[in-house]
Amino acid sequence: MGVLLIPRLTLTLTIISLFIFLSRSSSQEILINNAERRIDLSTHIVKVFFTLKVENIGTNAVSEILLAFPPTQADHLAFVEALATTGKRKKKTYVPLVVKPTELPDAPNETKYFSISLVNPLNSGDTTTLEVLYVFTHSLEPFPMEISQSESQLVYYRDSALILSPYHIKQQTTFIKTPTTKVESFTRLDPTNRAGTEMKYGPYEDQPPYSYSPIIVHCENNNPFAVVEELVREVEISHWGSIQITEHYKLVHAGARHKGIFSRVEYQSRPSFSGVSSFKHLLARLPPRVHSVYYRDEIGNISSSHLRTDSQKSDLEIEPRYPLFGGWKATFIIGYGVPLQDFLFESPDGRRYLNFTFGCPLAESVVDKLTIKVVLPEGSKDPSAVVTFPVEQHLETKYSYLDVVGRTVVVLEKKNVVPMHNTVFQVYYTFNPIFMLAEPLMLTSVFFLFFVACVAYLHIDLSIRK
């Protein structure tokens, strides 16, 4: 057995090394002429806009461009999107490209890669421009870790002044935008400039592949660090004309922990100095035409919320029971109904599909773990979900009002969700409208039997003694 294994193993090894050789060669075929990176630190979601001018200097056509991330960043990477630009200046058009994580076997220091598949392979000598947007969560580390009520919140941001890339970069610049002009310190790597809320690293010329130069920016950030640790959204479809959505939130303020006393007097009388990093309002964007909106937690209704609706959207402004300081938690439930015809459609092949928004309705918030449960009506069959990005899926059964066989629940789970994930997804299923009548018929027959029983009882003499 062992003897047999060894040749196969060597064969595999050869294949792998061949692959390495191929990929190596591809990385040397690409040159980045100009790279510009704009890092936006203004909220707790770090957004990076990355523009690449790529040239194929090799001989073969290349269809994939690689992005590299250090492992610390890759863990916090929530979202990557790439666009290819074509045309010049005003006639620029953007073509979205497929981005997926890949593994390279010889990645130095466990570098993680994403590969961008180009629509048209890049021929030898051609250039193209790529716009990449990627988003990190939990990348701003509060320092000091604990602050009192009157202090403002300072955070560390760690990155590299030089762009990590498997390719040679001819010229690169990095801009970092801080939320305020107050910057405690930042690492210098000349040429480095700072003006207002912007810092400029570069331009740096001719950096070899995998160049890395760590920097730390220590700046003020008093934006709400609203993190939903767990969000469960339940979408219940009723073919009687309504979709009921219930959302269970576990909210936490992920910024610097609150230290010492909390003085209500101070908080209310001097709002600009006291508790600047805390937040008490949150904005939830709900679909238009919502009805019966409620906002409560396990001990009852929370009376502080406002709903504004217009034809485009509904804005629900909610306040947790208490202002959230660093490390404080709150749980609450938002529920609402929307008309069925806005979100449920029939596809040409006779199946029905729900077209609904993924992600979290709260603006500017990060969801660590999002679970969407789509409860299909009783009697529906063959459910399948279509989501544009990878999610975990499984099926459950739920028993609700007077169910006999139970309702099929399509469960979609995703970790690390940011507002960029608020795109639509579809759940397809087949449903026979006759099942709508099952429950009313059941009730009617039960009542009918009850009355029959009553009539029978009144007409039968059950006494033993006449």
Partner: protein, 735 residues
């Protein structure tokens, strides 16, 4: 031929009457349920007040862990570090009821939350209670009175105050159980059926499960039995109504863990056993009387009495010695304070400190039972005309409950059903008289029995004659084996009665006839009275009794203001403190803290340990350092203080503070009430005593208060505070 026609006409009328009263009852149920929904509509579907939160928490535990864990539940979240055995110290009726409803609904796949079920338990049971009132009053005075009493009960403010949606308290189901037990007792008394006697014992068991007020039943029924015996109304029906109740009822009551051996050991139950002996003696005497000749009987009586007297005296002496040997004479504190209204304020400040244990004021009678207070005397009179076993019971019920309600505000609740029954009887009887006299005046002398027999229901005509011919009635009652036969029999009985009464009734009716004008005016006035009652009840339900007390609202120029500070505090505690942190507060907030914040408390509303409460009271009334030492010894991390001086919320801790001093001082003599009073007056301004100004409660409440408006003006006490600028040395403000 004509006779058959008449008979079929009467059956038709009866059938119509039955269907009509069925629908009226259904509507009464809907009314009773929906008048209690003001709290849900105006506020929200939430548990109210203090005790309901505990019941809610227990129900949650029950639904989560099942019945066996519930009986063995040792709660370590309360009375730290003592804990409390919940399964053995609660009346489980309410929780089991709601738990069963929840389980039933969920097994039908109706996913209502435990909270929703708890919120709506009280309105559902008030509908049941009004149906039970109908049954009880029907047994006493007929269908008309029954329906009237049921309507009155469905919206009596006193009962609404304890059973609005969300008021998930023992009383909500207990009042139903109370009335239903009484109904079954009267039913047994009227029919002499062992079936109803057994049901009665079961209903009594449910009452024992539900509320400590079951002692009222087990004292009132013996009293009535004794009354019947004394007034020479002993019958075998009385025996059947009473003896099984005592035997079965006591056995069943002893099954409830919280009652246990109290069912035979405490003085509250002695009356029932004494009467149990008496009724057996009387039964024996009756039996012997039947066996022996009159002369022999006299001899036997003298013999037995002389011997029996000696034995009795000995027995009573032993009993008295036994009872007297215990310090409270075998009575629990609350029962004693009922018998001696001054007892609680003298010896147990903790009972006296609860506002619902205070004696009521006159306006509260008007508020709680409104016009019923004026109708009750009329009802009592009508119960005497004629006096039957059932009506004497109702009279006894109203008399005792009036006394009890005079001692404690909260027992107004027991008075309410009695008042409703009495007023129902009064209203229905007076309507009866007025309409009959109008009919008589307008349509002349009723030629046949149709008019009067049809209108006053058959039962009431039976009841009317009950006093005159008790033996006759018993005979007819015995021949009622099945329902079908019963119906026929009823007709026969009716006919007999009609025949017999037709001569007599003419005489009677002539006496009752009033002039048309007078009857019309009286009728209109009665309708006005009823309308006034309805208006008052709806107002009371909507405005006075529907506030959940954990949410406060106030109207001002710029609209509605909601003060949700209680839940804000509990919500914060629940999410932002460690799971095992201990929270100290005055005992009022104990149940809410454990239920809403899920944190361990030192004392709560189940005031079973006076010393522990006194410790907290002492800490609150001590200076900061001493208080810190006490709290530290109890592992307390957070102290919850309710202060309403800024928004004008009157029932805050500063206003309760004197009770803390009194209760604390009762156990720890270094806390003296006069130290906190200036010339006998409780004040917090600059005239206040230094002890007051330095105690923990004062400091926690008014910490940095002066910074809110610059003066430190307390809107509840309407004064500027005495000590404005101070620092806390041992405590920190966290919320």
């Amino acid at each position: 031929m004509a006779a058959v026609d008449k008979a079929s006409e009467t059956t038709l009328r009866n059938a119509f009457g039955n269907v009509l009263s069925f629908f009226i009852l259904l509507l009464i149920g809907v009314l009773a349920f929906s008048i209690r929904l003001f709290s849900v509509i105006k506020y929200e579907s939430v548990i109210h007040e203090f005790d309901p939160y505990f019941n809610y928490r227990v129900t949650q535990f029950l639904t989560k862990n099942g019945i066996y864990d519930f009986w063995n539940w040792f709660d370590d979240r309360t009375w730290y570090p003592l804990g409390r055995v919940i399964g053995g110290t609660v009346y489980p009726g309410l929780t089991l009821t709601a738990g069963t409803i929840w389980w039933l609904l969920n097994s039908l796949n109706i996913p209502l939350s435990v909270e929703t079920v708890c919120v709506f338990t009280a309105p559902i049971f008030s509908a049941f209670a009004s149906w039970a009132t109908y049954l009880l009053t029907k047994e006493v005075k007929g269908t008309g009175a029954g329906l009237t009493a049921a309507v009155l009960l469905a919206m009596v403010p006193s009962y609404i105050s304890r059973s609005v949606a969300g008021s998930y308290d023992n009383e909500a189901v207990a009042i139903f159980a109370l009335i239903f037990t009484f109904y079954l007792y009267i039913k047994t008394l009227n029919t002499g059926s062992l079936f109803y006697a057994t049901l009665n014992a079961v209903a009594y068991f449910y009452m024992v499960c539900s509320w400590g007020g079951y002692t009222f039943i087990i004292n009132l029924i013996p009293m009535h039995v004794l009354l019947c015996i004394v007034t020479g109304r002993y019958s075998s029906r009385l025996y059947i109504a009473y003896a099984p109740l005592v035997v079965l009822g006591t056995l069943l009551a002893a099954l409830v863990p919280v009652v246990g051996f109290n069912a035979v050991m405490t003085s509250e139950h002695f009356a029932s056993f004494l009467v149990f002996i008496v009724i057996h003696v009387v039964a024996l005497v009756h039996y012997i009387k039947g066996v022996l000749s009159a002369k022999m009987f006299k001899v036997a009586v003298t013999l037995v009495v002389s011997v029996g007297l000696v034995v009795c005296i000995a027995a009573v002496a032993v009993l008295v010695a036994l009872v007297a040997s215990s310090p409270t004479k075998g009575w629990s504190g609350r029962s004693l304070s009922l018998l001696d209204p001054t007892y609680a304020s003298k010896y147990i400040p903790i009972i006296a400190s609860v506002s619902e244990h205070q004696p009521p004021t006159w306006p509260s009678y008007f508020m709680d039972i409104n016009v019923l207070a004026f109708l009750v005397p009329a009802g009592i009179i009508s119960c005497f005309l004629p006096l039957s076993d059932a009506s004497s019971f109702v009279i006894l019920y109203i008399v005792t409950s009036v006394y009890f309600s005079g001692v404690m505000v909260r027992l107004m609740l027991v008075l309410a059903p009695a008042a409703c029954i009495m007023s129902g009887i009064a209203l229905s009887q007076s309507f009866d008289v007025f309409t009959r006299s109008i009919k008589f005046q307008l349509f002349g002398v009723p030629g046949n029995s149709k008019v009067d027999a049809g209108d006053t229901s058959s039962d009431s005509s039976v009841a009317e004659n009950d006093g005159a011919k008790p033996d006759k009635r018993e005979d007819t009652l015995k021949e009622r084996p099945s329902r079908k036969n019963k119906k026929k029999e009823k007709e026969q009985v009716e006919k007999i009665h009609v025949d017999k009464t037709s001569i007599k009734s003419k005489k009677e009716k002539k006496l009752l006839v009033l002039p048309v004008e007078a009857s019309l005016i009286a009728l209109i006035l009665l309708v006005f009275l009823g309308a006034f009652y309805v208006v008052h009840c709806v107002w009371a339900a909507a405005e006075a009794y529907s506030a959940p007390s954990i949410v406060l609202t106030s109207y001002s120029n710029d609209g509605l203001h909601v003060f949700d500070d209680f839940r804000e505090a509990y919500g914060w505690l629940s999410h932002n403190t460690d799971v095992d942190d201990k929270v100290a507060s005055w005992w009022d907030y104990g149940y809410q803290t454990t239920a809403m914040a899920n944190r361990t408390v030192i004392v709560d509303n189940n005031t079973w340990n006076n010393t522990h409460i006194a410790t907290v009271g002492t800490a609150m009334s001590s200076p900061e350092k001493a208080a810190w030492e006490i709290f530290n010894s109890l592992d307390v991390k957070y102290v919850l203080v309710v202060f309403g001086g800024l928004v004008g919320y009157p029932s805050d801790d500063i206003n309760k503070f004197l009770w803390m001093v009194r209760i604390g001082g009762g156990v720890f003599p270094h806390i003296k009430e006069p130290d906190y009073l200036r010339d006998g007056q409780y004040r917090i301004d600059s005239q206040a005593t230094p002890t007051m100004l330095n105690c923990l409660m004062y400091k926690l409440s008014y910490y940095r208060f002066v910074e809110t408006d610059g003066k430190g003006f307390d809107r509840v006490r309407r004064t500027e505070i005495g000590k404005k600028y101070f620092k806390l040395t041992h405590f920190e403000e966290v919320r």
